[in-house]
Symmetry: C2
Amino acid sequence: MKIALSQLNYHIGNFDNNVEKIIAEIKKAESLGADLVVFAELAVSGYPPRDFLEFRDFVQRCNRSIETIASHCTRVAAIVGTPVFNTHHKGKPLYNTAAFCYAGKVQHYTKKTLLPNYDIFDEYRYFEPNNEFNIIEFKGKKIALTICEDLWNVQDNPLYTINPMDELMKQQPDLMINIAASPFNYKQTETRKEVLFKNASRYKLPLIYVNHVGAQTELLFDGGSLAMDETGEIVRELSYFQEDFDLVDTDNLQKTEKHIQPNSSEIERIHDALVMGVKNYFQKLGFKKAILGLSGGIDSAVTAVIAAKALGAENVYNVLLPSRFSSDHSVNDAISLAKNLSSPYDIINIEKTFNALESTLKPYFKGLPFNVAEENLQARARGVLLMGLSNKFGHILLNTSNKSEAAVGYGTLYGDMNGGLSVLGDVYKTQVFELARFMNRETEIIPENIITKPPSAELRPDQKDSDSLPDYDILDVILYQYIENRKGPEEIVAMGYDKTLVDRILKMVNTNEYKRYQTPPILRISSKAFGMGRRMPIVARYLL
Amino acid sequence: MKIALSQLNYHIGNFDNNVEKIIAEIKKAESLGADLVVFAELAVSGYPPRDFLEFRDFVQRCNRSIETIASHCTRVAAIVGTPVFNTHHKGKPLYNTAAFCYAGKVQHYTKKTLLPNYDIFDEYRYFEPNNEFNIIEFKGKKIALTICEDLWNVQDNPLYTINPMDELMKQQPDLMINIAASPFNYKQTETRKEVLFKNASRYKLPLIYVNHVGAQTELLFDGGSLAMDETGEIVRELSYFQEDFDLVDTDNLQKTEKHIQPNSSEIERIHDALVMGVKNYFQKLGFKKAILGLSGGIDSAVTAVIAAKALGAENVYNVLLPSRFSSDHSVNDAISLAKNLSSPYDIINIEKTFNALESTLKPYFKGLPFNVAEENLQARARGVLLMGLSNKFGHILLNTSNKSEAAVGYGTLYGDMNGGLSVLGDVYKTQVFELARFMNRETEIIPENIITKPPSAELRPDQKDSDSLPDYDILDVILYQYIENRKGPEEIVAMGYDKTLVDRILKMVNTNEYKRYQTPPILRISSKAFGMGRRMPIVARYLL
């Protein structure tokens, strides 16, 4: 059977856009002689639609969209992800389904069985799990159709007591099709291929896998849809981080010319994911231009480079906001970077605003010494000036904080924590350095001095990050164990780290939940990012 | 059997504190001759512990706490909520249980069957549902022990296919005990009593119900634990919004002297809930003093009154921050209020800061006319000055935005949207007026002029809220249908509202998800508050 894989970037709730794209691909598949074209999980609504699913109106629009799509499936069939109402009296109100469209209408809805409800996933909030298993017969072939997580109970996954493919095998299918919305993290690409390999090789069936691509606020979908033969060898692998389309004949997979994507390093994938994340955030909100504060430090430098790649250098407005505590090299380094990028920049001194704030507050500060209050006034003066420009010109402010800072609360609420989107909030400081090196791999875009000088917030004379924080090399490893691996203090100490240091860092993380509650959405590139996938109490007293 | 109901305010993750409180109550129950003392759901950890449950270390501390508690249950038994590990190979890693402690150790763990996973609940994220049903035999009585939601499948709840009490009835229990963590909303108190009544009257058994009391960041627990006789009549009803303790003899409930709480209006309950919310937020974080911006408008006035009741008037620092656009009456009204409350206040003019910001940005604003950018500069100048004072003195800034504003995005990010806690973010403007009237029911605390004058942000000459927003009477009704009732545009128009107006309001709500993403936590008093119970995509195009 000739099957087209259509890997598209959907827009949540933008039914006209999603339907139009899907229909165009159906026509393309038809013109190329395909029997069937496969789209991703919840393609019609975009993924994740979250609580929009609680609105009947929203689901009804999904229904109408699927009917429109099906009306275009006259000669070619299509598999399209969509939510449908659960018409039984019992259970959650919806199913997460794959609609099989042919002969102008929906022939069958295949329901999802395994509903992820961990990390960023909330599927059990909306959907009733499936418990009926039927293969689809089409053009003489028996198709085992499943949805994303349904293939993830291979081997020893304790979360689920059922394995949909084991059930479907009883009906002797000829091939497997899986439609997915599998979010990227820098380790997920390999894990996903492994899981798919295990399925193909275990069931000895060819596998067609179609994933989302594109960013949905913080969630990044990397694509990488593929066709595997019955030995688990990848015959076709679609692009990463962009839309793609391919056509395969599942009767001849082993004789098909292979087309595999080149290997990429973790840091390259993180880079590409972040560029896509920024690009889609602006596109889908209908914005073109970004503004950001360029401090001369590495975080804002890396953010500026990503933004320039995502939006075009001319669309990134870099603002240098020096104070009495800014070093000359910071300003010069920032200027060099803007020039290297050919991005516009301005230098706006914050002294006048800082002075006004200080002198206004002086009578009320009761002669107390300069402390974090004055440091924050500077960061907030910058935040207000940037937001003023953002509001005047309709640019979105990019936040430049990294994950290490966000973790320990080394940042000022309503100051440098401002922004519509956090580009590096899931990237540890040590990874930010790696990104900078990666960006400079051919020519020096980021001035070397920005990479080599000791990090500093420059909010008081001769301040260094290392005055208040452990070295990033150690900090990041301990944070990784606590955040990504959810290890407790005893477990981390048992790995060989100093107890006082571990306790201090974990306490900093937990004390600063209140700050992270108010951060912008953070592009997610790890297995555990701050945001929708990490849900912590603010008022608590654990490890404090 | 003599059963003590212990209604306590727990602190999430503060095991020492929770264990100490529980043991003190066990001793008290023992001294009063009780056979059994009952505590709330997940009492040991506090509710909701959220992703702390993913840390083995956290759950191990719960285990150790339960062992300590059990060691004090020598003559009196105790039922205490705690998470325990699922030791089977399959399923989620934890159970939500009620530990039955007696003779110095845990005799039995009863597991929760029905796991809420909607609105603010994420229990299926952590817990495996129970499917074994056993009554507990103690001192010759058979106890049907269940946990919170387990009693909520009476009549026709489509969410669940099983009813734990129906299963337990097969073993002919003598009484029911339910331990709960049932969050308040202003309609929930009545609903909860109805559900408990249906259980008692359906199974013809006495019912002991013990709920949490106190605030856990945004979630407010109202208490109202109770003892019902086998006809469903309430014999004892514990206090609302404060800790309480009572002792009943379940063999003589119908002859027991009744003790019922006085009826209260919805607005009174909202008032008491908000006072408790502010009080506990500060107590549990270890803060004493609040700061807030007093504008002369009704939102900050009502917030100041609530804060004064929660923290003591002397601990609420009111700051008036007038600009060139502030009317005299605003300043005077705000001063009168602060004086009525006997709270400290200062008047800090924002002109110097606003001028510094304007003149700093002038060369970069390219002669564009005064617009929302300059309006926001004023709101942000206030925000920075308030945060400066907050940082200098260690006061928590209270946010004063209401739900109507938060819904339509009528507020300035990093300006008046600042704060550690939003007091009124779940209270519609029309309800804020009701609260003000309620506060003034005996003496005029809030100057009448604050209640009667037309609402204005005073960010440009002669500005009124009604310039940019529909009348609050209509706005709030449409918002309620969209937010609380999740009605779509067609359904709301079918109720008799103007289509253009409905479309405009729903679009404003959806366009402003990005702002709400960065608001402080909001005390939840309705069935659908902004925050953890309402999960919306930011980048989407539904109803825009």
